[in-house]
Amino acid sequence: MNRLAVQLPGLSLKNPVMPASGCFGFGREYAKLYDLNVLGAIMIKATTLEPRFGNPTPRVAETPSGMLNAIGLQNPGLEKVMEEELPWLAQYDVPIIANVAGSTMEDYVEVAKHISKVPNVHALELNISCPNVKKGGIAFGTVPEVAAELTKLVKEVSEVPVYVKLSPNVTNIVEMAKAIEAAGADGLTMINTLLGMRIDVKTAEPILANRTGGLSGPAIKPIAIRMIYEVSQAVSIPIIGMGGIQSAEDVIEFFYAGASAVAVGTANFIDPFVCPNIIAELPALLDELGFDHISECTGRSWKKGGPTVYCGA
């Protein structure tokens, strides 16, 4: 038995750890450092219909235990991603989750229709929550009805299961999740970044050229855990959790909260080997905690009546 193997809609994962969208490009750089075949899946950089340059620089700023980014969805566009990036990734036996973004519903539908036909794309991840694009982005991810409609439209055209990525910048994340589930989403991924800002003390100017940006990294982990804890108890579709994961222990914490798989974002920048390292460490941690299989951990912080958890203390 593979203790780390996880089955999710469209995704048969050898392990539940994957790099998060936007933090791994299309895999080429990390492929120089290690064999991508060790990964459970890869969430590629957001793809839009047309190529985008994104925001002016500086695009990143450091914050306490976190970072802000305002990349602005830079990507080579649907055509190039389909012609160059995805075929290159096909050399690896790793399912690809294509992160889809756009400024209008039609954009999303168009990208989803085409990219979901590529054989190594096993699922879509709708990026309705990127706080960096002024037009549309924010609204899709913060109004339940709009998110639901988008989900429905994309589901109609997609040839693979559709995961919707939730924005944490909302009053009621459970309401969002339920609306999206009702609209037919196959899974949720959460959380995207929190909207933040830093100002240079010397110049009084925002450090990011875009002024505001998305906060990621360990700083946001407690917020991600809380939201997954709430949402996983309210929906029955699986959750791929993310937000500040740096270690195998963090992965277990996300599972306990209610995740069925996880993505690692910012931590790739700090330790490019973080994904393979976590994957290698998980079995020993499962032993220590007394689990046979990682999926036993899902939702354990709120599931009643399960077997007593081993307590090391």
């Binding site: 994104g54 620089t57 990143v60 980014n69």
Partner: protein
């Protein structure tokens, strides 16, 4: 390119807030090009979170050591400055594409222009050019006398001039003033420093073969996160990444 915990073998303050650190490790075997950089994590804690990009200043293959010179200013470099010989730092590198030595032919004259913390990578460059038989002139610009460093070290390779913005040392003004003062002639220009300096040089020598090293805030340092892009002339969407396509670009290749 890989990661290694390198050992600090020497650490010294060489000017106001300017530190020179020498690191030993197997990674040195992979370091070749002047202008390449390493990405350093100064703590195992989550804060400060990101690595810091710092240029290779000297590569000593025989000793298996490299030298870096940095200004201790923000959270990361201030922490780094507290590390003592014997301690380790986590280094990712070598990264990026450095200055092309082959651009200057044996017997030609190269002008090396550095500004502030853009000076360090020119040292390994000067070393390699001189070794190849290129004659080297060096112009270094600093804010003020207190932060001047490595003038003597460069002088071993060729004529070296210093400018300070406040005139407290050398020529008063910018590197361009120092260049004007001497009417320096050269075949190839190599420069590293703040963007205004690079722009001034690009405008001053539009027809010269020039190589400029850029700085940009970085996330990954290896080309994956799109934090550090710059634009390519005459295109809406074309771009280069400072970390993996640069940091050294041929003048005109990217929009400064």
């Amino acid at each position: 390119m890989k990661t290694e915990k390198m050992t600090i073998v020497h650490h010294e303050r060489i000017a106001k807030n300017i530190y020179q650190i020498r690191l030993a490790g197997a990674l040195v075997a992979e370091m070749n090009e002047p202008g390449q950089f390493v990405h350093i994590k100064v703590t195992e804690q989550a804060n400060p979170l990101l690595r810091r990009p710092l240029s290779l200043c000297d590569i000593n293959k025989e000793a298996g050591e490299c030298t870096i010179i940095y200004r201790a200013e923000g959270a990361g470099t201030t922490l780094l400055a507290k590390k003592r010989p014997g301690e380790m730092v986590d280094v990712l590198g070598p990264l990026g594409n450095g200055f092309p030595i082959e651009a200057a032919k044996t017997g030609e004259r190269a002008l090396l222009v550095g500004g502030g913390i853009g000076v360090p990578p020119l040292y390994e460059l000067a070393k390699q050019l001189v070794k190849k038989g290129v004659s080297v002139t060096v112009v270094l610009g600093f804010q003020t006398k207190d932060v001047v460093f490595y003038e003597q070290k460069f002088a071993e390779f060729g004529e070296t001039y210093v400018a300070t913005v406040d005139g407290s040392y050398g020529t008063k003004g910018f590197v361009t003033n120092a260049i004007d003062d001497r009417a320096i002639s050269f075949d190839v220009l190599y420069a590293c420093g703040p963007k205004p300096m690079l722009k001034a040089l690009e405008q001053k020598f539009p027809d010269k073969d020039a190589y400029l090293s850029l700085e940009e805030r970085m996330g990954c340092g290896i080309g994956a996160c799109f934090a550090c892009v710059c634009r390519v002339p005459n295109s809406e969407t074309a771009y280069k990444k400072v970390c993996s396509d640069g940091p050294v670009f041929k003048a005109g290749e990217v929009v400064l």
